[in-house]
């Protein structure tokens, strides 16, 4: 737990793990020779395509075709007029924005200090950032409900009671972004940590300070630009997580985007399938974009070295 298995970033074939073996030499072990193995491989891939593309295509068909109209994009046209969508999506976007902001404010200084000055704390921070993955969301939300319930019970008459009711009420349920920061921790912290490891942050900070820059200037003009990809990764991962999060919002009974889709499903099945498809593809597209952007940035220096 204390060390990030270095493998997974290079999990993707070609993103090759060991620099020693390289992508070219790792593959041949797996590249079974002979037509039998090749046919088996093709068969497996074909089956996978059918299983994974099938439901997607079926859902797409479902949204554009009905008894009354054999082909119509009306369901997609209805998306923007759907009653309640604007409110739910607005709430989700505000919560997502707050989550990203809170995450960065909390984590960037922490990751930086741990990286630069207190490496002994790294193990503890790593473990804490991993734990939210270990404990299922449905379990965490039960605990959160329990703590919120202490307000009127055990803590009645104390300032804590007001605090606890404050985070649950009003137009913005603060409890959601506050908890979503925790849910996103494993992803966001890893992204930042990986960014710090690969950047020469320590050297750059030293250089900046030596040249007489103050700490705020160093952070703003040296550290943050260096970590741009990592920050983008962290921000996007938590943003996507919040938009798709259903368990906590639905148990705590807040009408966020995902909770709204489920309730709306009873009224217009076609529309909820259309929105689901859109949100899946949008998330996927953005994730691919991030992957491409961050790969482009980490690959560039390697090419320079060869030249």
């Amino acid at each position: 737990m204390t060390t990030t298995p270095p493998a997974v970033p290079g999990a993707v074939p070609g993103g090759a793990p060991g620099a020693a073996t390289g992508s070219g030499s790792a593959a041949p072990v797996l590249r079974a020779s002979g037509t039998g193995a090749r046919a088996a491989r093709a068969g497996v891939l074909a089956l996978a395509v059918v299983y994974f593309a099938g439901p997607l295509l079926a859902a797409l068909w479902f949204t554009v075709s009905s008894r009354s109209a054999p082909f119509s994009l009306a369901a997609y046209g209805r998306v923007w007029g759907a009653p309640g969508l604007a409110d739910a999506l607005g709430l989700s976007l505000v919560i997502a924005g707050l989550t990203v902001l809170l995450t960065l404010v909390l984590l960037v200084p922490t990751a930086l200090v741990v990286h630069l000055r207190l490496p002994r704390l790294r193990a503890a921070v790593d473990v804490l950032c991993l734990l939210p993955l270990v404990v299922p969301v449905i379990v965490l939300v039960v605990g959160v409900r329990g703590v919120l319930g202490w307000g009127p019970d055990q803590l009645a008459g104390t300032p804590f009671e007001e605090l606890l009711s404050g985070v649950q009420s009003g137009w913005l349920p603060w409890v959601l972004p506050l908890e979503y920061v925790v849910l996103a921790l494993p992803f966001t912290y890893r992204a930042l940590d990986a960014g710090l490891r690969t950047s020469a942050a320590a050297t750059l900070v030293e250089a900046s300070l030596s040249l007489g820059a103050s700490w705020p200037v160093t952070i703003w003009r040296v550290v943050l630009p260096t970590l741009r990809t990592a920050l983008l990764n962290a921000a996007f991962l938590s943003f996507a997580l919040v938009l798709g999060e259903f368990t906590m919002a639905s148990i705590l009974q807040y009408q966020t985007f995902s909770v709204w889709i489920l309730q709306f499903d009873n009224t217009d099945g076609q529309l909820s399938v259309a929105i689901s498809l859109l949100s899946l593809l949008l998330t996927w597209g953005l994730l691919l974009l991030i992957a491409v952007v961050s790969r482009g940035r980490t690959r560039a220096p390697r090419r320079d070295r060869k030249a």
């Binding site: 493998a7 329990g146 690969t198 020469a200 320590a202 148990i251 899946l280």
Partner: protein, 317 residues
């Protein structure tokens, strides 16, 4: 969101540090360290406080509340083992059993299918395909719980497109298939298989070509290579992945909740129902006990996965 440690890392894009870089790191760190202002420790302190308040306290609350209850005669709050006992009995016990069964079946199927698929993808050696798969896995496993349910309703729900086609072809799906345990298992595999591909690919690629060459040169057959060389190397990762998939399936909530309107008898849905107040008098805290039961099942298994993942990482570097 389900238990998927791998995903964040897959986008972390950190090339593993070479020994030289690792040796240089402490030297780099040593110098600016002195320059950090004295109040710098406030940042980690704030972080630890935050994690304690918003994570450790709620989880601790479960441990406490699971053993609290109201005395049946006086109505005063007392310590009791009744909630935990209730979890193992009757409807709650049955849902726990269903959950374990569902998770076990989907984990085994997911591990096998994912391993085969990972082999097929790795063998093509296409980086674009790998990137596509890893990002798709991330979306499906982490951000797709609810949309996934709708996808399958449209495909093989009672009014689904494929359901209609299959019925037309004389192969009708059982009625309400999607809303039963086997139907939910089909949907779970849709995110478990990509997850398996994501976590097992590094282990597959860690098999060094030299091992295969050595085996061949010593006269080993393909079967002997897989049985005596690759098999033992992969074994810990396979066990770990199985554990991870089990946890992922066991913890999944959104998909099953959306598909079955919360009526399927599995533990996550039973918890949701219990905390929304659908409990008998005197069982108000049974939701906490159910949550505790999940922790008892999931935590050791996820830690097992983390441990095997670290062991595998050693082979890869």
């Amino acid at each position: 969101m389900d238990t998927v440690p791998a995903v964040g890392r897959s986008h972390a894009s950190a090339p593993p540090a070479s020994p030289a870089a690792a040796a240089a790191a402490p030297r780099q760190q040593a110098r600016p360290a002195r320059r950090l202002p004295g109040w710098a420790w406030l940042a980690p302190a704030a972080f630890f406080a935050y994690a304690a308040v918003f994570f450790l306290v709620p989880v601790g609350a479960i441990l406490v509340e699971a053993f609290r209850g109201d005395d049946p005669t006086t109505g005063d709050p007392v310590w009791t083992g009744a909630n935990v006992a209730a979890v193992l009995r009757d409807a709650y016990g049955a849902s726990l059993l269903n959950s374990v069964e569902l998770s076990l079946v989907t984990a085994v199927l997911g591990t096998v299918c994912g391993l085969v698929l990972a082999w097929a993808i790795s063998a093509t050696g296409s980086s674009a395909l790998g990137q596509l798969v890893s990002s798709a896995a991330a979306v499906l496993a982490n951000f797709g719980g609810l949309p996934l349910a709708f996808l399958f309703v449209a495909a093989i729900g009672n009014a689904g497109v494929l359901t209609g086609w299959l019925a037309g072809a004389g192969l009708p799906l059982p009625k309400n298939f999607l809303y039963s345990l086997p139907g939910v298992a089909v949907v779970y595999l849709y995110f478990l298989v990509p997850l398996m591909v994501l976590v097992i690919t590094p282990a597959l690629e860690g098999l060094k070509p030299q091992w295969r060459e050595a085996s061949d040169n010593l006269g080993g057959t393909v079967a002997q290579y897989w049985l005596h060389v690759a098999g033992p190397v992969l074994a810990p990762s396979l066990v770990g992945s199985l554990a991870l998939l089990f946890c992922s399936s066991f913890s999944a909530y959104a998909t099953a909740a959306a598909l079955t309107n919360g009526t399927l008898a599995i533990t996550p849905l039973a918890i949701a129902s219990a905390v929304s107040g659908n409990v008998l008098v005197g069982q108000e805290n049974v939701g906490y006990a159910l949550a505790l039961a999940m922790v008892v099942v999931v935590v050791p298994l996820t830690l097992l996965y983390q441990w095997t993942a670290r062991r595998t990482a050693r082979w890869l570097s």
